[in-house]
């Protein structure tokens, strides 16, 4: 290999620049345009945005491919070569220029249904409305009932209520405070969850 007159070596000087300079420049420009086309989405024909590549090697914008997968949901094939294709089997491409390395499949609402919306805002929007508030107030209302019954049961196991100031009385007060705090924490958790 090393003995041959390396025509493939990249450092080889261009042949006779004076004679073929003009034509090679033109070729270069054409090649550049063709290079750009190599990165065009096979669906919208623009330079691929949020690019993904299929296992068969075909390049698409994720929004474009996603729309096709939605359109042809019964027959998920590569638009170019008809190879089998699916959301899970495409590879996102991250060029140097792309600032965020977010998976393009994450945006443009990839899953059609059955997905929770993102937490910010949605909780408080739904808070005072319909179903949500019903379940929520039911949960809060039911808890103190359980709380009282449990303290009642606690008392029942003892033959007589403890006298004021005795260690038993203090312990009971301590326990009920713990339960109260647990109740408060539980309610706070309900509100924040």
């Amino acid at each position: 290999m090393s003995t041959s007159a390396s025509p493939a070596e990249p450092s080889a000087s261009p042949p006779e620049p004076s004679t073929s300079g003009n034509s090679s420049q033109k070729e270069g420009a054409g090649e550049e345009a063709r290079d750009d086309r190599n990165f065009e989405c096979n669906i919208c024909l623009d330079t691929a945005k949020n690019a993904v590549v299929s296992m068969c090697g075909h390049l698409f914008c994720w929004p474009c491919l996603h729309q096709w997968l939605e359109t042809a949901s019964a027959r998920q094939v590569c638009p170019v070569c008809k190879a089998a294709i699916s959301r899970e089997k495409v590879v996102p491409l991250y060029g140097r220029g792309s600032s965020d390395q977010q998976d393009p499949r994450e945006n443009s609402a990839p899953r059609p249904s059955g997905q929770r919306t993102e937490p910010d805002g949605s909780l408080f929007n739904g808070f005072g409305l319909g179903d949500n508030s019903f379940h929520l107030s039911f949960g809060i209302g039911a808890f103190p009932f359980g709380f009282f019954t449990s303290t009642f049961n606690l008392g029942e196991t003892r033959p007589s209520p403890a006298a004021m100031g005795t260690p038993q009385h203090l312990e009971e007060q301590f326990l009920s405070k713990i339960f109260l705090w647990l109740a408060i924490i539980f309610i706070a958790w309900l509100l924040l969850a």
Partner: protein
Amino acid sequence: MAGLSPSERRLQKELMSLMKEPPPGVVVDVDLAEQNILQWIIQMEGVSGTLYEGEQFQLQFKFSRKYPFDSPEVTFIGANIPVHPHVYSNGHICLSILTDDWSPALSVQSVCLSIVSMLSSCKEKKRPPDNAFYVKTCNKNPKKTKWWYHDDSV
């Protein structure tokens, strides 16, 4: 090209490339397409050395707002409808890529090339066997027809 819908944007790109590098024997009416980007007329020439040598045909392409996810509606129009086993006398074409096998990676150019090769490979000029019945009963839109692509060899 700002402000165009995705389908218009893509059609503009296709129009540009058809103008710049038209396939042999295919000429798009650019003025008409620029007036209404969703409806094109294409002149097609019968390839020399085939049964359609010297003939001129007109193809009409209608695009929906969902193009390229939705296939274009393609029919022969005008005085000369090619006599071919897959072309009905009302201009409807029985070609699977126009319905079932459509893909958004196909284009006006690839549809034209398919039609050119469909015509070129024809061995005998004749209408489809069910032409009379089909033309009487079919929908105006060939995409509404449930085509039965059984003899793709012709």
